[in-house]
Symmetry: C2
Subunit: 356 residues, 2 copies
């Protein structure tokens, strides 16, 4: 599709996959989920046939640029945008939109998180194409994922009328709901998960930013002006930290006049924690996901991740997450996987920088 560009957001910190993920190798650089290669490399590869390689951009953190280049060796250097500091998604998307609009004033952006798992890739591309078509009138479009459980960890999007085949008006965005509310959402059939996948014309999102977040809009205009003088890098370095730290959902989409939603069902997972990694992994008859050759005596429901060639023996344990790296070993029940953040925070407080 002409003028279609992809913006992969790859700046995440990835504490939830410690000790495999670290500050310098967050989740998107890890080979998680079912496929081969890192999530980031697979996110880029998934676009083949839909977006030409030179129209794929990545926004990441400065300290992750080298790792990003290693994962995406064929990506033009200028397609990697390095944020001096993370300021949530509105500045990230705004900066990418401004950058790409300078190249192509008619650009349409598909904004994609770098760290999700997609099972049905042809369907994924078909959905993106439909959503991209729906941006033509200047609308902001979001992809809404068919919910499969009353998840309280995601935001939801309520669908209104179908305005063209497979494209609905979005009635409203709803923040993470209570469990009871999530159950009602699931039962109604009108609510979809917000997975952070957005499509819009670069010009349209920049206009919406200027309306809803005028200080960000002004800064982006300054970036444009500096770019004309060849001085954008210095300005970004000087000013990025001052940009408002706000999400595109909350700061722009929720306030926009018309937002569309394309319902999708392509086997999506956000790989949000080691539990999701366990859910996605191939398992034995006792629900263990462990490397081949592991010695599992009366072990059930365990997720084991160790370096290649290391042998693990589990005897009589259930529902554990075990992640081993050369310098750190994590063991916890699956039900408490969220608490790995506290481990990382504790190590950070202790100043054990080499471990986080």
């Amino acid at each position: 599709m002409q003028h279609l560009y992809a913006v992969i957001m790859a700046g995440g910190a990835g504490k939830r996959f410690w000790p495999l993920s670290r500050r310098d190798t967050p989740k998107q650089f890890l080979p998680l989920g079912r496929g081969e290669g890192s999530l980031l490399a697979r996110t880029a590869a998934r676009l083949e046939g839909l977006v030409p390689a030179d129209r794929v951009y990545v926004v990441t953190a400065e300290h992750l640029v080298d790792a990003t280049r290693r994962e995406l060796p064929d990506m033009p250097a200028e397609n990697i945008l390095a944020e001096p500091v993370g300021r949530n998604t509105a500045p990230c998307i705004g900066w990418a939109a401004a950058t790409i609009r300078r190249r192509d004033p008619e650009a349409i952006l598909a904004v994609l998180p770098a760290d999700h798992e997609i099972e049905n890739e042809p369907e994924f591309r078909a959905v993106l194409e439909r959503a991209a078509q729906a941006t033509q009138a200047g609308d902001l479009v979001t992809v809404g994922l068919s919910p499969t459980r009353p998840e309280t960890g995601y935001g939801y999007i309520e669908m209104a009328d179908e305005i063209s085949p497979g494209v609905h008006a979005a009635r409203r965005f709803v923040e993470k709901p209570t469990h009871a509310r999530a159950e009602r959402f699931l039962a109604s059939g009108d609510f979809l998960w917000n997975g952070g996948i957005f499509l819009f014309q670069a010009a349209a999102i920049l206009e919406a930013i200027s309306e809803s977040l005028p200080s960000l809009g002004a800064a982006l205009a300054e970036f444009d002006a500096a770019a004309e003088r060849g001085e954008e890098a210095a300005l970004v370095a000087a000013r990025y930290a001052e940009l408002p730290s706000v999400s595109i959902d909350h700061g722009v989409m929720e306030k926009a006049r018309r937002v569309l939603v394309v319902p999708a069902d392509f086997g999506w997972s956000d790989l949000g924690s080691w539990v999701t990694a366990w859910e996605q992994a191939p398992k034995d008859d006792h629900q263990n996901a462990a490397p081949e050759g592991s010695v599992l005596l009366d072990a059930k429901g365990c997720y084991v991740r160790v370096a290649e060639g290391k042998r693990v023996a589990l005897v009589g344990v259930e529902d554990l997450v075990v992640v081993d790296t050369p310098d750190a070993l994590l063991i916890m029940p699956r039900a408490r996987a969220q608490e790995v953040r506290q481990v990382v925070e504790l190590l950070t407080e202790r100043g054990e920088d080499q471990l986080v």
Copy 2:
């Protein structure tokens, strides 16, 4: 004490401490328990002041001779007896007794396992000295350990009359009892644990062996004859595998006419499993024994052993044993620590020799 020799039995396979223990580094070579250095080195060091270094012997397996030399660098080479195959304790002790009697016909032997922990070493030496004195009339003497719990994993020795201060006649040996029986033993005050520590004149045990295990006695006499011709090594290599595989307890002591027992209370532990290692180790307020710096969030009763410098994080787990080495990781509840043998057996069956 004149004529006192020590025989340290150090041929154990040490499956129970896998993955730290391996075929080539069984338990006695590991720094387990409270002290510094390997159990074997500490067993030898514990004899200082009681037995001169050149009268300390070690019986071990051929493939462990180099490791033994490394642990005991000052021991004369001829004091290390290498069994071509393990044939339980009767051949091991008989061979050591024959070897030492050739050097000193009046030798008294203190036979000691290489892999036990002793807290009160002066008391230990005092007990050995008393037991050695009790061998003077040709009696076989065993050290009986004051039981502290109704342990079903040990053999017991029933005491009869005290025949001299601190020395009793032994009424009988009892194999591992049921729990109810062990409780009666503990309550009676007449039963002691058999920890495998024996003292006797070399000549006396060889005579008892000839009576109870005549085929072993005959083989040892052949070893003596071959030694006179300087041909013992070849005969041992050729014949050792044919010796009867039987314990000194069952094969000799239980059948001997008079056995004495010296009750002892010097803080003994056989370090029989990772559970004993946990029991012996310093613990935090939540009964965790883990390396300094470990991140323990709501973890209780865990034993953690990892390579120096590796960080462990436990979140919300209880009563686990976690042992990590560069090539293998074991996780199991403390209550199932005995099952580590099955892990080793499974790996052996699979032919994973590098791991066992």
